[in-house]
Amino acid sequence: MDDQWQVAGRSFTSRLIVGTGKYKSFEQNAAAVEASGAEIVTVAVRRVNISDPNQPMLMDFIDPKKITYLPNTAGCFNAEEAIRTLRLAREAGGWTLVKLEVLGEAKTLYPDMIETLRATEILAKEGFEPMVYCADDPIAAKRLEDLGAVAIMPLGAPIGSGLGLQNQVMIRIIVEQAGVPVLVDAGVGTASDAAVAMELGCDGVLMNTAIAEAKDPVTMARAMKLAVESGRLAYRAGRMGKRRYADPSSPLAGLI
C-alpha cells in the first residue's frame, strides 16, 4: 500500500523518526535504528573531541548516505544559539532540512515559542527547511507554518518523560488545521503512545528515550515501528463511533 509522506519535497515511507542519544553503544544505536525502520535520525552538533580525535564517531555506525541526518538544536536556549548551531550543521553535512528546538528552561525543556518563532523566520529566510519542536498551541503552530516551518512537531509530554500524550485534544486540533506534516516530538513512553499519536492523524512520531532507555532497545525499536504502522492504518481505516452502552455483535433475530 502506497502511503508515503512528504516533508520539504522529500518522500519517506517510515513515519518514525528516532533519536541517536542515550544509547549504551554505537552498535546498539545502529541496531535500534535498523529495527525501527526509520529513514530519518536526529543528531546533535557538538565540539569535536580534540583531546581524543580517534574515538569512534556516529557516522562510522549510521551512514548519512543511507539514513537522513536531521541535525537538531538541543541545548539551545535562544534563537541566536540555535541559528548558529544549524549554520554549522549545514556546513558539516550540507543539509537544509533541520530540527529546530529552542528551549525555555532546563527543568521542563518546554519550548520557548517566542524565540522559536523568531528563529524559524530567520532560518527560513536563509534557505533552511526547519521542522520545529513546539508547544501544543494551535495558534503558535499556525504562525510557525506561516513563517516557513516545513513540519510542526508539538510535544506530547516533556522531553524524556515517557508520560505518553497528555494533550490529545490539542494535538488533534493542530493536525486538523495544519498544511504541513505534524509529528509528535517528545513524550512517547511505549508503543501504545506512538499508536495514539498516529490514530490522531499525525504524519509521524519522533522519539529517542522510549527506545534508548528500554531494557531491550532493539526490541522496543521494532515495537515502535509496528505501533506507528498500526496507528497509521487505524487512522486511515477510520475508527468506529463510540457508544455509551453495549451493542451486540451477534444478531438478535433467530434466538432460540
Partner: protein, 72 residues
C-alpha cells in the same frame, strides 16, 4: 637551529600553538580530524568547507570545530 615560527590560537576553548602559515585543513589534520567530517567557525564566522584548504590560521584566531554526535 632555527625554531619553527608559531601562532597562538584557541580551538574549542583550548589554547594551542600551531606552526605559522598553515591552513585550517592542515590544522584539522594536525588535530587528527578528517576535514570532510567537521564544520569550522573562525572568530564566529562559518568557514565554507570548500575554502578550508586556503584559509590561513592567523595569530589570535578563535576556532570552533564541530561534528555530529548522538542526540534526540
Amino acid at each position: 637551529m632555527a625554531e619553527i615560527e608559531t601562532v597562538s590560537i584557541r580551538v574549542n576553548g583550548q589554547h594551542r600553538r600551531v606552526p605559522k602559515g598553515i591552513s585550517i585543513a592542515d590544522l584539522a589534520l594536525e588535530l587528527g580530524l578528517e576535514p570532510s567530517r567537521v564544520a569550522v567557525e573562525k572568530n564566529l564566522e562559518i568557514v565554507p568547507r570548500s575554502t578550508l584548504g586556503q584559509v590561513i590560521v592567523e595569530d589570535g584566531d578563535d576556532f570552533e570545530i564541530v561534528t555530529f554526535v548522538g542526540g534526540g
